[in-house]
């Protein structure tokens, strides 16, 4: 394999200029955990590597209003951030489980999204958190909803030379929470067989939630859901996203529509799971069978929503009890 130049620009403009000079043969590299693997596998033969690691403008993490994360921020930095852990929890769920700690120390969310594997862990949380992708190009900046960013397996809506600058998410009220469930075969260093993320805003009529104690106790799921139903816990707004069950990470929009505005109950969540399962198009692969993936969408959609409601109602419990859900 021939060698290549390795550039370390310090600004976005410098990086884009280098890319242009390379005549499109250059490859952007951030953490390198995808690019270096592709090079080693001989699937990628770059004319040059343009490192984004030293560009300060990509390294921001701003929680002052809503959430803005530069594409160069590492998974570990995101996972350990207090505000993200409490207010954008699905993102903390995802980034804390990508690869291993060694990977999370250098791999970036920007890289994870731009690589756009259907299994990209950060994709589903960003989808449910209404993220917008901010891109920098020759003609300035533009942004698109992340749902429009994924075009297919390993394909995103970046124009030649463009760089993802970062991701923006709105602020959510205290009746909103999120979760990402990564379904894996082993408990670390794994890609998801499939993943489901959910964001829910609940409406609480009255001051107290009586079922708070139910969540603290060891009652089974059916009993807990019965309490939700009895207390008329309403799902005011919802987003559901699924990964590895389609050529790109996707929203379960029909399921969302069927849940929004309704009282949460066991029957409803069962129904929502089935609708989400019907919306996805899982495949058989060496990582999982289609029928099982579809089944798990049913199960994990329900559990993700339950986990989110638990987080909203008991925000101070930062250690989720070891339940099946």
């Amino acid at each position: 394999m021939g060698s290549f130049e390795y550039y370390k620009p310090e600004s976005i403009a410098e990086a884009m200029a280098l890319m242009e000079e390379s005549g499109g043969k250059g490859v952007y590299i951030a953490g390198g955990t995808d690019v270096m693997v592709l090079i080693r596998q001989r699937k990628l033969s770059p004319g040059c590597l343009i490192s984004l690691r030293n560009i300060g403008d990509l390294a921001y993490l701003d929680t002052s209003s809503g959430l803005a994360i530069g594409s160069g921020v590492t998974h570990n930095a995101i996972a350990k951030n207090d505000i993200i852990q409490t207010k954008y929890t699905a993102l903390a769920d995802a980034t804390s489980k990508v690869g291993s700690l060694q990977i999370r120390n250098i791999a970036t969310m920007g890289g994870n999204i731009c690589n756009a594997a259907p299994s990209a862990d950060t994709a589903c949380p960003l989808l449910v958190l209404d993220a917008r992708v901010v891109m920098a190009g020759k003609n300035g900046e533009r942004s698109v909803p992340i749902d429009e960013f994924f075009l297919g397996p390993n394909r995103v809506a970046l124009r030649p030379g463009e760089i993802v600058k970062g991701f923006e998410m709105p602020a959510f009220n205290e009746r909103t929470g999120s979760a990402y469930i990564k379904h894996t075969r082993r408990q670390a260093m794994d890609l998801p067989m499939l993943g489901v993320a959910a964001r829910v805003t609940i409406r609480i009529d009255g001051d107290q939630i009586g079922c708070r104690d139910a969540l603290c106790g060891i009652e089974n799921i059916s009993d807990i859901l019965k309490r939700f139903e009895d207390e008329k816990l309403v799902c005011e707004d919802v987003r559901i996203a699924m990964g590895v069950v389609a050529p790109r990470p996707m929203r379960a929009k029909k399921a969302e529509g069927a849940l929004k505005g309704r009282v949460i109950s066991e029957v409803l969540l069962q129904e929502i799971g089935e609708i989400a399962a019907s919306e996805c198009q899982p495949r058989d692969s060496i990582r999982g069978e289609a029928w099982y993936r579809r089944d798990m969408v049913k199960v994990l959609t329900k559990r993700a929503i339950l986990r989110v409601v638990d987080r909203i109602i008991r925000p101070d419990d930062t250690i989720w009890p070891e339940r099946l859900w």
Binding site: M36, L101, M189
Partner: protein
């Protein structure tokens, strides 16, 4: 096109003519002839190549050498004192029976060191997190987590 770069390895300033396509692991093992850091897979999937860069545990097999420029790198060779005393983490691994074939051990120890330098009294979950990216086939991990706990002062 090789380029001269300098960085610090185990508190010593190193200057080399680096080929940009080299990984840090290649440089450590083949150029600097420091074979303590091992290659277990070459894809960042086993952790045998773990080194500490600016305080963070990193898979050196995926780390482009050009990014190492100007950085502070710690490898397994840098842990023992100049008088030949084992670092407390190394000593704990020896005393707790955490070493069998030993191939994963340099990487394990570096992951543990990165953790304990940052958090001297880690929780059980933090201990597991620090080595969840380090595969071991011999020990079943039990004595490795025992060793890290012991090095952290608890048992």
């Amino acid at each position: 096109m090789k380029k001269e770069i300098t960085f610090i390895v185990n508190n010593e300033k190193i200057a080399i003519e680096a080929d940009p396509k080299w990984t840090l692991l290649y440089v450590l093992r083949e150029v600097l002839e420091m074979t303590g850091t091992k290659e277990g897979c070459g894809y960042g999937e086993c952790g045998a190549c773990t080194v500490i860069i600016d305080g963070q545990a990193v898979n050196s097999c995926l780390y482009p050498v050009m990014e190492a420029e100007g950085r502070n790198i710690l490898t397994i060779e840098g842990l023992m004192t100049k008088d030949g005393e084992l670092d407390p983490i190394q000593k704990a691994f020896v005393d707790e029976g955490a070493v069998q074939c030993g191939f994963c051990i340099p990487g394990m120890i570096m992951s543990a060191k990165a953790l304990l330098d940052r958090k001297p009294k880690p929780t059980e979950d933090e201990i597991k997190e620090s080595i969840e990216g380090n595969l071991c086939r011999c020990t079943g991990y039990v004595k490795i987590t025992d060793a890290i706990r012991s090095a952290a002062g608890g048992r």
